[in-house]
Assembly symmetry: C2
């Protein structure tokens, strides 16, 4: 749990009693490379923290596998469109490497907010940061060319290109694998 609490400390420090209580609704889980952590059609009731490894959220459009996002060590992952609406998700979460996660029961977590305002504050800040990320991503998808998006990613997150198969990176960037390969080929 140490990794989780270190990360929380950076976002919004919570008091010892809240840490204790939070611990009680967490459990560590392992998934080997390639395995789904949460399936399509399942309603999201868990917030994960990536302790070790990488995961992706993906879905299918007309039988094509599309990666919505990646999350590396020290990040939180959940399928927002399901977690916040209570509807089944059309997306899955998959381990890209052998991955260790801390699973937080979202129902219990949200209930704690009534008695632990610092946990609600913490969560709000996590969501705010995620929201800023997605807004920036919309900007990049709106009018940047595929090549610009690739180069920006290469610069901002070289880890992605080292640890993630290119076929997943391609759909994340909104292009086909063949196009990405062509773009990489140019110098």
């Amino acid at each position: 749990m140490q990794e989780l609490f270190s990360q929380i400390e950076l976002i919004y420090p919570i008091n010892p009693e809240s840490k204790q209580t939070l611990s009680s609704i967490c459990k560590e889980v392992n998934f080997s490379k390639g395995k789904n952590i949460q399936e399509i059609g399942h309603t999201c009731k868990t917030i994960y923290f990536v302790k070790k490894g990488v995961v992706r959220i993906y879905y299918f459009k007309e039988a094509i596998d599309i990666t919505e996002s990646f999350e590396f060590e020290n990040s939180f992952v959940a399928r927002a469109e399901s977690l916040f609406t209570g509807k089944p998700s059309r997306k899955a979460i998959q381990a890209i490497e052998d991955t260790t996660l801390i699973a937080i029961d979202s129902t219990k977590f949200f209930q704690l907010f009534d008695t632990h305002p610092d946990l609600e504050r913490l969560f709000r800040k996590i969501i705010e940061a995620s929201y800023v990320n997605t807004v920036n991503r919309i900007e990049s998808l709106q009018f940047n060319t595929a090549e610009e998006r690739y180069k920006t990613l290469l610069k901002a997150a070289p880890d992605v290109l080292k640890r993630i198969p290119l076929k997943y990176v391609a759909s994340y960037l909104g292009i086909t694998q063949v196009s990405l390969s062509r773009i990489r080929g140019i110098k």
Copy 2:
């Protein structure tokens, strides 16, 4: 203020004292069509509620005006990437019609969270909903064709196409005005 409180009631009802306190940090402001409500380079310190009219958030990419989003009556607007990071925004907010807004001082609002947990809860829910919207928009920009995006918008938000000049709609969809016109032309 009635419109604001009706909308809040739908999201997360707050107690009368919180309403009173919230009122004290709000003020109504008017902008005529075409006027900027907040300028590029300004650090966002205000959350707006649209009482009447429509606004858009926009920015420039290589001298091209790009619309990031629209907000109609009963919605909240702020430039998240500035509000949550404290950095100056590269974006502006503009009134597309003559618009009446309720301006909420974000610094004061965030301070209230320490004493009014129901206001923090309300705000969290507003952000969660906005986050879900942006995640869905990423999905549409990732692999839908321009024509699919146009038709989806036409179905989901016909108001946008009735009240917003097409040049703004085009960049919102991630295409040029000429392309949008062509797509509309096909039947």
